[in-house]
């Protein structure tokens, strides 16, 4: 188990190295940073001086080493547009994004588990059919469009909830709700399929033949075993939501990392773009690693493996 986790950790670090490498190359094919940093009429000697002081005259591989060293110290460069450290700008926006992502996952989980169980335990009934149809719509509708539909219904027509900004719980409902719809649909399908799969297994028949009540078979035996592999998927969704929330952040003017990223693209603010990519992938990898650990801890078959 320890070796397994070490291998995963090693893999996560490898991914971050590759991402930083790609990002670094991007930085260098996207143009001479000095052209952006120096005034246009600066004398060539000043430019050379600046190039030397920034270490840009060294070979690319040395520069990459310097970049890695700086990155390890949390220095990802200064935003061209805001004049502040890029990493700090991104991290300032992180709580807003996390708030949205965590709420979304909670909404989807709280609703998906009972619906999925109900659909699986009443297979073929109207309840099941309705949940399948609903989840089909959920996974087929683009989340940003759902956001627009929500704004139209709840903000423009009914005027119940605000359509943009962040602050109160009321601000959170529409963006999180529209983001949650896709995950909710996905989770319902996965839980339903997992339950149906588990219900055919021998240990369920054993439990039933022992005279365990159907309620207990469903919730104690079947659901528990369905949820173990489901942890992985829910965790990965949480990581990818952080990147996927960009569109929703745009639609609802939510002041998260994604909006910062979109603004940075508009003004070609490369340090911020790089910082966003690195922060997002770090969080994604950390969440996945945590999910792996939880999975190992939950599944005794892996836990007791040597």
């Amino acid at each position: 188990m320890g070796i397994y986790l070490l291998r995963r950790l090693y893999q996560a670090i490898l991914v971050l190295l590759v991402v930083s490498g790609i990002v670094f190359v991007i930085l260098h094919i996207s143009g001479d940073p000095l052209a952006l940093l120096m005034p246009q009429d600066a004398p060539p000697s000043d430019i050379e001086e600046m190039r030397r002081s920034l270490g840009l005259d060294k070979p690319l591989i040395v520069q990459y080493g310097l970049f890695l060293k700086n990155a390890a110290q949390g220095n990802l460069g200064v935003s061209y547009h805001h004049g502040q450290p890029a990493l700090r700008l991104v991290l300032e926006r992180l709580p807003a994004s996390l708030e949205l992502v965590v709420t979304t996952i909670l909404i989807s989980l709280i609703l998906a588990v009972p619906i999925g169980v109900l659909a699986a335990s009443r297979r073929g009934t109207t309840v099941d059919r309705a949940s399948l149809l609903g989840s089909l719509i959920g996974i087929s509708a683009p989340p940003f469009w759902i956001g627009i539909v929500f704004i139209l219904i709840f903000s423009v027509e009914l005027q119940w909830l605000p359509s943009s900004g962040r602050g109160t719980w009321a601000h959170l409902i529409l963006p999180a709700g529209s983001l949650a719809l896709y995950r909710l649909a996905l989770f319902i399908r996965l839980i339903r399929a997992g339950m149906l799969d588990i219900m055919t297994m021998d240990f369920i028949r054993t439990a039933r033949s022992k005279g365990v009540s159907e309620q207990k078979v469903i919730y104690k035996h079947a659901l528990k075993n369905t949820l173990i592999p489901f942890v992985t998927i829910a965790g990965m969704q949480m990581g990818s939501l952080l990147a996927g929330a960009i569109v929703t952040e745009k639609v609802f003017a939510w002041p998260g990392m994604g909006r910062l990223f979109l603004e940075a693209i508009g003004v070609m603010d490369f340090p911020v773009i790089i910082a966003w990519a690195l922060v997002t992938s770090t969080i994604f990898l950390t969440v996945n690693l945590a999910v792996d650990i939880i999975y190992v801890w939950l599944d005794p078959r892996i836990r007791h493996e040597k």
Binding site: R123, S140, W145, I148, R189, I246, V251, I265
Partner: protein, 318 residues
């Protein structure tokens, strides 16, 4: 004759007396066979309907020039923000209304679906060929080549898809061709992993070894023996990949990072509609989204059915 009927009667009797005990689902009785058949029939009807709809949308997209009422990019200043035809303020050729610059929503949807389908099928096709070749050779040759490819697959699959696509679009800039390539790059890894897995599971089988012994070359073995077995998983993967890519295209275009603004695209149409949402012009954003949802739902229904039909015992992986 009696010898023929007797065993049949016997059979019938034994079958009846040794019928398997009825399974029970949480309070509900085991679903009888005729209900199952009915259910399967109904779901097949759904699949048939979805397939019919898909062909209809495909035909509209292919013959967009003749189907669309007007040119999607034509701006008619006297027909700006016209509501759909059933509204009393609606105007005749603009059945689903117009946007802020007087462009017809319906024509934009039809041409936009064309772009969606084009991007979806071509980029999935490219990533299929890429992933198939790399996965096949990785699983067959093993060694260093396999390590490199599988490491690349690991790296790519451990990052959010949309993040990779966004970063590449930022570097390359807008453009239809660029987007097709970027989406193809984001999709190859899953193909490579699937194909390699299949190849590894069958490369030690006797009939593959006999092909070796018969002196077939590596490419013959890879294509005639290994690739054939990978067709089913690749088909299932593609049916999930196409709607995913179509959705990603719409998302990127909505963000202004996909196709250029002069291209009629669903994502761009929704983005334009979003700008006029608060002035009450709901049709400019709602209808394009509905059309996209219809297209993706039809493909998803087909994909579900395909997976069930080809791999009945498989766990549903959405």
């Amino acid at each position: 004759m009696s010898a023929e009927t007797a065993p049949r009667t016997m059979n019938h009797l034994t079958e009846a007396s040794y019928a398997p005990p009825k399974a029970r689902f949480w309070g509900c009785e085991y679903i009888p066979v005729e209900r199952q058949l009915l259910h399967s029939f109904l779901s097949n009807k759904l699949v048939l309907g979805a397939l019919g709809m898909l062909f209809f949308l495909l035909a509209c997209a292919i013959f967009a020039y003749w189907v669309a009422p007007v040119d999607p990019l034509e701006q008619t200043l006297r027909a700006r923000l016209k509501p759909p035809i059933w509204d009393e303020r609606g105007m005749s050729p603009y059945y689903l209304g117009t946007d802020r610059l007087g462009r017809d929503v319906l024509s934009n949807i039809i041409y936009g679906l064309r772009i969606s389908l084009l991007v979806g099928f071509i980029s999935v096709g490219i990533s299929l060929v890429m992933g198939l070749t790399l996965g096949l050779t990785a699983g067959y040759k093993r060694g260093f080549w396999e390590t490199i490819i599988m490491r690349a697959v690991d790296v790519q699959l451990s990052l959010p898809l949309i993040m990779i696509a966004l970063c590449f679009m930022v570097i390359f800039g807008q453009g239809l061709g660029k987007m097709i390539i970027v989406l193809a790059i984001t999709g190859w890894a899953e193909y490579a992993r699937t194909v390699r897995g299949t190849v590894l599971s069958i490369r030690e089988k006797e009939y593959v070894e006999s092909a070796h012994a018969l002196g077939f070359g590596p490419w013959t073995i890879m294509i005639k023996y290994l690739l054939i077995n990978a067709i089913t998983p690749v088909l299932i993967l593609s049916s999930v990949q196409v709607p995913r890519v179509i959705m990603l295209e719409a998302t990127l275009s909505f963000l202004g990072l996909g196709v250029p603004v002069t291209t009629p695209s669903i994502g761009l149409a929704i983005a334009r509609g979003y700008q006029v949402l608060f002035s009450g012009s709901w049709w400019a954003s709602i209808f394009p989204g509905l059309a996209l949802m219809l297209l993706v739902a039809c493909i998803n229904i087909f994909a579900d059915w395909l997976r069930d039909a080809l791999e009945p015992r498989s766990r549903e992986q959405v």
